[in-house]
Amino acid sequence: MTDAVYSNTGVRSQMTRIALRWLLYILLFAFALFYLAPLFVMVTTSLKSLEEIRTGDLIALPRDVTFDAWRTAWASACTGIQCEGVRPYFWNSVLIAVPAVMISTLVGAINGYVVAQWRFPGANIFFALMLFGCFIPFQVVLLPMARMLGLMGIAGTIPGLIFVHVIYGLGFTTLFFRNYYVTIPAELTKAAKVDGAGFFRIFWSIFLPLSLPIIVVTVIWQFTQIWNDFLFGVSFSQAGTQPITVALNNIVNSTTGVKEYNVDMAAAIIAGLPTLLVYVVAGKYFIRGLTAGSVKG
């Protein structure tokens, strides 16, 4: 008797559970559709001919898939008076982002290591100022930075842009590494000191090998920031050193006559691909790094 009652409620709760589960899936699916819609439109539009765009439906699949727009965007779209596509600017962005990401990550790691494990007088103030640096709006630093770059003789150059991005990124990278390294017990550093290791030895042999998750987080963050940056790119570059974001803007804004939506879309996708790639390759470490707690063991 009681058995029957129990199993009855058991079945019912089982069914509610399944129903809820389905509701959840449907909801998630709807959200996914919502967020993917723009990407879908971009991709399909970039694969259509201009003719088809004009006559067809925005959300329809392309009737004739053509890569012409991609070719144009990459190699011959006009960014003002030049018509070389986004290719040179893509490489500019690579030349800016890769060194800037590497330098800011490495220096941030050392900074974080010092602030977290080698408490020096004024360490807290140093760190607070560093943090403050994260929250200074871009616009505020534009003029002083332009003057600085001029004085250093690297205004308008790729090293100049690298410099700007490293400086602006250091606040964040230091914060990331510091927060990761404070979770590492101070006794580890002490043990290494007793073992005879010095500042860099401890960093190199003990801290860096522990840092993969936070390095991945920092690299993704910095790469996304630097690659997607527009304001610094447009302010501190000149013809020939502009990053891809600036070029994309020029392509979209400098066409006269008929808007070549397919080319614009293709160029935009090209501009966005590298960050997408970084997420796909390193995404799982990203999540792991963000949630990584103290070092076990």
Partner: protein
């Protein structure tokens, strides 16, 4: 014999808070010095000062006759085992143990030979290729010991190395550390807040409280003649009974009068001729209160007491009664006839008692 470690007038403060005050300790070669005291009394801080991991604010510190007050840890010829073991998480056990030698540029052959010897000594040969994360607590503890042993230093420093282990393993490792000390003849400074660990391991104990040394002495000195009520209470389990009493001169001896729970009082006659003030605290270890006729040595005085609680503990039975307004524990024979609620004659060994001044807690005899 010149002391291996000599600390003179050491002070340590963080900002304006003084953590250690006027620490004076000397250790002879081969000593096993145990620093013991309640949590937060500054034991780890003192150990860190000895290691050079914390700068000291005053005083001097020398190791093997050389002034080390301002020398960095790596040049002090010490090895340390930390409470959390602090094994390098990304290195294998073998690398953990040899890291110090590698840093110091010891040639790989010597490294391998020393590693082998230490691994055998601690029976961790089969663990050498594992990472710390793949070890049990006890195994990690051994590896941490190995990392210290392989260095063959002048001075070993241990910061509560057993506190993370379960009770059984702790007792095992305690014995092992003691054996290790005897075999190596090494000098060790060992921090613990476990007074049993202190008693069993030490050749010399330093009892600390609030950054001040309360007493330095051999385990038996500390146990038998505690310098003050704090030490008396801290060392020993169950703790020493500290009973408020009145002392009255009576001829060559002294009468010690203690109120009992029934409104009357018991009187113990101390014939040792101590010069005591009227108000004293009488300190008696539980094992110095027995049933009449069961102990031969000492000077015994019998008194009738009302038994409140009887706690059999296997080898002994603890009997709790009330004297001087305090609970007093006696350690009786396992097969005692004492019963809760009944009166029982208890015999106090007055040759072993301590007297303390109630106000200052200072020892009087």
């Amino acid at each position: 014999m010149a002391p291996i470690l000599d600390i003179k007038g050491l002070y340590k403060s963080y900002g304006s808070t003084e953590i250690l005050k006027d620490i004076n300790v000397a250790i002879d070669p081969g000593d096993f010095l145990v620093l013991v005291g309640p949590s937060g009394c500054g034991k780890s801080t003192l150990l860190n000062c000895i290691a050079g991991l914390e700068p000291i604010s005053g005083g001097t510190l020398s190791i093997d006759g050389q002034d080390m007050t301002h020398v960095s840890p790596k040049d002090r010829d010490i090895a340390m085992v930390f409470q959390s073991y602090a094994l390098y998480p990304t290195m294998t056990v073998a690398k953990n143990i040899t890291f110090g030698m590698k840093v110091r540029g010891v040639d790989p052959k010597t490294q391998a030979a020393k590693l082998k010897k230490v691994a055998e000594q601690l029976q961790i040969e089969q663990l050498l290729n594992r990472r710390p994360g793949q070890l049990s607590g006890g195994q990690r503890q051994r590896v941490a010991m190995g990392r210290a042993l392989v260095r063959d230093p002048k001075l070993f420093l241990f910061d509560e190395p057993l506190s993370n282990l379960d009770a059984k393993l702790r007792v095992e490792m305690r014995t092992e550390i003691k054996a290790l000390h005897q075999n190596l003849g090494a000098t060790m400074v060992y921090v613990t807040h476990d007074q049993i660990e202190a008693m069993t391991l030490a050749t010399k104990i330093v009892v600390m409280k609030g950054g001040v040394i309360q007493q330095i002495g051999s385990p038996s000195e500390i146990y038998d003649r505690p310098a003050n009520m704090f030490v008396a209470d801290f060392m020993g389990s169950p703790a020493m009974n500290l009973i408020p009493a009145r002392a009255m001169k009576n001829g060559s001896g002294t009468h010690i009068e203690i109120a009992n729970s029934t409104g009357g009082s018991i009187v113990l006659k101390d014939t040792n001729g101590h010069d005591l003030p009227t108000d004293v605290i009488l300190g008696v270890r539980p094992e110095d209160i027995a049933e009449p006729g069961t102990r031969q040595d000492g000077v015994h005085q019998d008194a009738e007491c009302l038994v409140d609680i009887v706690e059999p503990a296997g080898a002994d039975t603890y009997v709790v009664t009330q004297l001087g307004g305090k609970q007093v524990t006696a350690r009786l024979h396992a097969k005692t006839n004492a019963q809760a609620g009944k009166s029982q004659t208890l015999s106090f060994d007055l040759s072993k008692v301590s007297y303390f001044e109630p106000g200052t807690g200072r020892r009087l005899n």
